[in-house]
Symmetry: C2
Subunit: 275 residues, 2 copies
DNA sequence: GGCTGTAAAGTTTGATCAAAGATCAGAAGT
DNA sequence: ACTTCTGATCTTTGATCAAACTTTACAGCC
């Protein structure tokens, strides 16, 4: 009943979101879909300074777009993703969409139903606790690894990002932008950990928590008298002293705080709709 | 030079490996491709004892077959996977294969090259250390979680599996079967941890170490005077005493031992071929 | 009136096909 | 003899199409 069978794809009022949309997220994130390595800045060779040619496949763009939307919390939990809907909304055929959806399913970002349809997973209390524990465990380890490898330059970058977040918080109420800054801060650290194994795992965990990041961000401010970036500044301080345990502890509290608020909200929702 | 362009698919001498091949792995593993939940044995209701109807999609079977082959170490590191080759070898068209390969890529089990071809990742020393650390961290946590939830029945099952492994070791030299028993033992524990978040992560880690499990198993026996299941028995003992730390430590040593041997082998190989 | 069986619409899955890109071999030029 | 260009072959990617499967709606029956 919500389908329009003969829609000319890509012309239903929404622009294909990726064309010329180099968001901060895209720049600051780790580009998980592109396995080509960037040249190390340590080398002096002019050739090694060349970035690999950007390869645009449609599937890549669909995947990145869906991924970004998920992390920013654009999709509601439990929402069913229909291939043709997504395809026409993004202005492509179904083929790239179905591959991107399959990819997100195997990253646990989406959930296949026995009906063969695909939906954004519901976040139950159990799953929430599971995710919180996993994130504390794995991201904590990533911070410990990063402590030894972060350069002064990296830390300065983290400061800039956090300052940007603070200014954003003082001003408007754009949750999407907050999510982007939060993402940039955390992954700036995780990427410095230098683990090609842990990083994709953490990305998957963020995708799984994604549908609720927005809810978290909107609840975060001042809920306990602490500013949104309180824990971020503590993490930076610990990183500067090369104190891995303190940094991991502060990060654990940062994660825990976000999930604590989500837990409350979830308990509230479940009490309201005891389906 | 190894391609035969007009091969009738599925009739090149190899049987499609999945038809009526209920291996121990298939039975003992967690069926990650099938999200339907089995009925809890705790309920007395007759309806809840019904297993969900098996749903066979071709992609599912291709995926499971490739996955099994990878974990058992049937593919050499660096081997390029061509869609049409795999399709004709498995007796299907290219479509299910390309979706299965895409799925394995996003689980980090396979690696996309800039050429857009897909290969089994090379295992470098760096990657090996990365994987070892990640496995100790995450599987250790899974064991700690499992300690509180394992029933006496579960532990008895672990004993049976380990005894089966011992008997296998005494007898023939079938690495595939050893890998299956080893897999069954570990995942018997991890599944009991009850974390729907950690389990897929561990599966992905095993897929990444897969190409070398065979090498590990062949090197394992008697390399240091310990039997192959020495650590497994220690883990079982710790589980019976509900000592999570001891169990995690023993598991850490089990993982570490396998990787130690791989490290030696890798150092040897790299010394031989310093490409 | 409510339940059951059947038909129709819509969706996913798998196959085939065309086009773009990559690899490799051979020819031409220095 | 070595490098570079070009063409042919092979591969992946994206589109279209047919078939299997779900779901929903509707009519018939108890």
């Amino acid at each position: 009943m919500r389908r329009r069978p003969c829609d000319p794809p890509g012309h239903d009022g929404r622009r294909p979101l990726w064309d010329d949309d180099p968001t901060a997220m895209a720049e600051l994130s780790s580009d998980p879909g592109e396995p080509t390595r960037r040249p190390q800045p340590g080398r002096r060779n002019a050739l090694s300074m060349l970035a690999p040619v950007e390869r645009h496949t449609v599937q890549q763009r669909v995947y990145l777009e869906l991924r970004r939307s998920l992390i920013e919390g654009q999709f509601a939990a439990g929402e069913v993703m229909r291939i043709q809907d997504v395809a026409s909304r993004l202005g492509t055929s179904t083929m790239p969409v179905r591959e991107a959806l399959g990819r997100l399913v195997s990253e646990q970002a989406l959930e296949p139903l026995p009906n063969r349809s695909i939906r954004v997973p519901l976040l139950t209390r159990e799953r929430l606790d599971d995710l919180a524990a996993a994130r504390r465990l794995i991201e904590g380890e990533a911070v410990r690894l990063a402590v030894r490898r972060l350069t002064a330059d990296d830390i300065a970058k983290l400061r800039r990002i956090t300052r940007g977040y603070d200014e954003l918080t003082a001003g408007e109420e754009d949750h999407g932008h907050r999510a982007i800054y939060n993402h940039a801060f955390h992954f700036g650290i995780y990427r410095a950990a230098g683990s090609k194994v842990l990083l994709p795992i953490i990305e998957s965990l963020w995708l799984q928590t994604g549908p609720f990041i927005r809810a978290s961000a909107s609840l975060y401010d001042g809920a306990d008298g602490l500013s949104a970036t309180h824990h971020h500044w503590r993490i930076i301080a610990a990183l500067e002293e090369r104190d891995g345990e303190a940094a991991a502890a502060a990060l654990g509290e940062d994660v825990e705080r976000a999930f604590e608020l989500l837990r409350d909200r979830l308990a509230h929702d479940e009490a309201e709709t005891p389906t």
